[in-house]
């Protein structure tokens, strides 16, 4: 392989690994947005909880698979509680008000975690070792393959869930028209609850997958949440395909930008691209074109 091509491949691997994580977080945003039209700015805290709780359980001597299951379950409980206690009572509030409620929830969850689990950085062990794999001259970590594999698996499962199960279809119906869904007998408030649970699950999984690479910390969710939101918007809010494409694209812009242009400005480049896309496609790449009712 010629050197420039290997280099490109290396940037590509790096980009899709970060991108897959952004995609998972973005999917979490999309799920909740679809069911409730709420943007959950505490999504990053689900990511953080996944990693931190897994670490906490591991440090208590619990096996990794069990610790992961425990962390996912606990994060889902937090997601359900958030919907039940904070979002549902404020259902009729303004968009901005709901944004601030979820931001408050994020601050609260970070505070709670720092008080109970401490403020240290923690590493999780990689799922299958730290021996890099060589692929066409470029290298990739086994953990990256885990990230890509699990993300792909989740995408397939979600696709099946939304297209082939009654519950999934109910969620889709609710996202299209809440009143109509209620009229055909869908329990809308259950659907909302479910969407928060699922979204917490996605967040927790993302947090657990990436913790062996980046280490976890009570504030690790802030930036990942923000990037996930950016990815969700880039792809088009509430669109599953959009969230995935948006996430991967964001990861690639960052790594190619850092590799070929300037590592100093790679984050700024990502936002410039998003602004550029929005200027020409005001609903993101795959977003539904909204019509405003008068």
């Amino acid at each position: 392989m010629p050197a420039p091509l290997v280099e490109f491949l290396q940037f590509l691997f790096s980009g899709i690994t970060s991108g897959a994580i952004y995609a998972l977080v973005a999917l979490g945003f999309a799920l909740i947005y679809n069911a409730s039209h709420v943007i959950n700015f505490a999504q990053g805290e689900f990511v953080m909880l996944g990693g931190m709780v897994t670490w906490a359980l591991l440090s208590q001597g619990i096996d990794l698979p069990l610790a992961i299951a425990g962390a996912v379950a606990l994060t889902m409980v937090v997601g359900l509680a958030l919907e039940k206690l904070a979002i549902e009572p404020a259902r009729n509030a303004d968009v901005v008000t709901l944004i601030i409620i979820t931001i408050g929830a994020g601050i609260f969850l970070r505070g709670l975690t720092s008080v109970t689990l401490g403020k240290d950085l923690h590493a999780l062990p990689s799922f299958s070792g730290d021996e890099p794999l060589s692929l066409l001259g470029a290298t990739i970590m086994p953990q990256s393959l885990w990230i890509l594999g699990v993300t792909a698996g989740i995408v397939v499962l979600l696709h099946g869930f939304f297209n082939y199960t009654l519950l999934g279809k109910a969620i889709l119906a609710t996202s299209h028209n809440r009143l109509a869904a209620r009229l055909v007998g869908i329990n809308v408030s259950f659907v909302l609850l479910l969407s928060f649970g699922l979204s917490a699950l996605l967040g927790a999984v993302a947090g657990i997958l990436i913790a062996p690479i980046t280490a976890t910390h009570f504030e690790v969710g802030i930036m990942l949440g923000l990037k996930g939101f950016a990815a969700a918007i880039l792809g088009g809010l509430g669109n599953g395909v959009g969230a995935i494409v948006g996430g991967l694209l964001l990861g690639l812009i960052e790594s190619l930008g850092a590799g070929y242009i300037s590592s100093d400005y790679k984050d700024a480049m990502a936002f410039v691209v998003i602004l550029g896309v929005l200027f020409f496609m005001p609903s993101g790449l795959f977003g539904r074109r909204g019509t405003e009712r008068v």
Binding site: A3, E7, Q10, F11, F13, S14, G15, T17, S18, I21, S114, K119, D120, L121, A123, D130, P132, T139, M141, I210, I213, T214, A215, H217, E219, V220, I222, M223, L224, E254, S255, L256, A258, G259, S263, D264, K266, D267
Partner: protein
């Protein structure tokens, strides 16, 4: 038709009362029996929490110990601390609160260079001694009358690293630095002192402190002609990721980290990839490995065992050590001055000679408010998951 503004007024009133409550009117001249008030503002949360957290724990622990031993000049020490979250604006308001409302006798703290720099104008005007725990050389260069600091500067870290490189015959170096205050400042210092050591910087990459992957930057460095070593100024999880990515893409040149990762945590986070990494750090990290005759040995072993007895095996870091040094320097200065009077303590601090702390031997003067030299830094290498002294 009393509308919203009336309510607004009432709310404003409530808020003001609340503000008044937090700051009771200052009492007249403090009696000698009153406690000595030590003010502190640290980044206990936020991106620099791994600095602020051990610093606060150290201050709390040792102030309690001093009080149990009868206090300082027979007076109790009282700690007033506020968390800045590494936000310079918060630091400034809290410093004002410490100076104006809490009326502290000294300020120890400022985990980061940014928060420290923001309060310097305030302490200079208030004429209260201020000992910072932050690394930036700009804190004490140029010298400000009331400002001191305990950690080695980033300029010294660069010097120590380049000195070591000279010994290994390395002259072409790549930098990959964090864009946070610490990384950015140290990068600047390294670029500045590199020519003094005959070092040429051939690649200069950066990453954001919250980045999750630095493979792209390292690949670029790997493909740069003639790189003989890589230096990574930065702190937090960034350097651990750099170290892992460095190993992943199979780079074989030596990797140097900075004193910003001088804790066991770094080895834990970077795992096997940390093998062979070198960094300049205070003697504290190799406390038990110091030769018996080393004057620092009793101090660093004492601090390490005291800290780890409370916070667990392997929890000690040089960051907590900076706070220890700051508190002990202040204690020594008060004892030397025979009072906690700010001006007297300032003069005593400036007259510090041969003080042994965790960072090294401190000898201050009117134009050196740090008092450490390059010998205070030790070059360490990570071998078998532990620090080893390099000679």
């Amino acid at each position: 038709m009393m509308t919203r503004f009336t309510k607004g007024l009432m709310l404003a009133g409530v808020a003001l009362v609340a503000l008044g409550l937090t700051a009771p009117a200052p009492s007249p001249a403090q009696a000698q029996e009153d406690p000595i008030r030590i003010g502190s503002f640290l980044a206990v949360t936020g991106p620099a929490s791994f600095l602020g957290d051990p610093e606060l724990k150290t201050l709390e622990m040792y102030i309690e110990r001093i009080n149990q031993a009868g206090g300082l000049l027979g007076r109790e020490l009282e700690l007033v601390h506020y968390d800045t979250g590494a936000d310079a604006n918060k630091a400034r308001t809290f410093a004002k609160r410490l100076l104006e409302s809490d009326e502290v006798d000294v300020i120890l703290g400022g985990s980061t260079t940014g928060t420290t720099m923001a309060v310097i104008p305030l302490v200079e005007r208030a004429e209260v001694p201020f000992i910072s725990f932050a690394g930036g050389v700009s804190i004490i260069d140029p010298v400000k009358p009331w400002v001191f600091k305990t950690p080695h500067t980033d300029r010294m870290a660069c010097g120590k690293i380049f000195e070591d490189m000279q010994g290994r015959g390395i002259s072409k170096v790549a930098l990959i630095s964090g864009t946070g205050g610490f990384g950015k400042s140290m990068r600047g210092q390294c670029l500045e002192v590199a020519p003094d050591y005959g070092i040429e910087i051939v690649a200069d990459e950066t990453y954001a402190p919250s980045d999750t992957d630095m493979v792209a930057q390292l690949t670029k460095i790997k493909n740069t002609e003639g790189v003989e070593a890589v230096v990574n100024p930065g702190f937090g999880q960034g350097p651990a990721i750099v170290t892992k990515n460095f190993a992943q893409i199979g780079m074989a040149v030596p990797l140097y980290q900075s004193h910003g990762v001088a804790s066991k945590k770094f080895i834990e986070l970077a795992g096997d990839a940390a093998e062979g990494v070198r960094l300049p750090a205070a003697a504290l990290l190799v406390a038990e490995k110091l030769p018996d005759g080393d004057p620092q040995r009793p101090i660093v072993v004492g601090y390490k065992s005291t800290y780890e007895a409370v916070h667990g095996e392997g929890s000690v870091s040089t960051f907590g050590g900076h706070a220890y040094d700051g508190l002990m320097l202040y204690k020594a200065a008060v004892e030397a001055a025979g009072s906690a009077d700010p001006a007297a303590v300032r003069d005593a601090l400036e007259a510090t000679r041969g003080f042994i702390g965790t960072a090294g031997e401190v000898t201050m003067s009117a134009d050196d408010h740090l008092g450490l030299d390059l010998t205070a830094f030790r070059m360490l290498e990570i071998r078998d998951g532990d620090w080893v002294l390099v000679n």
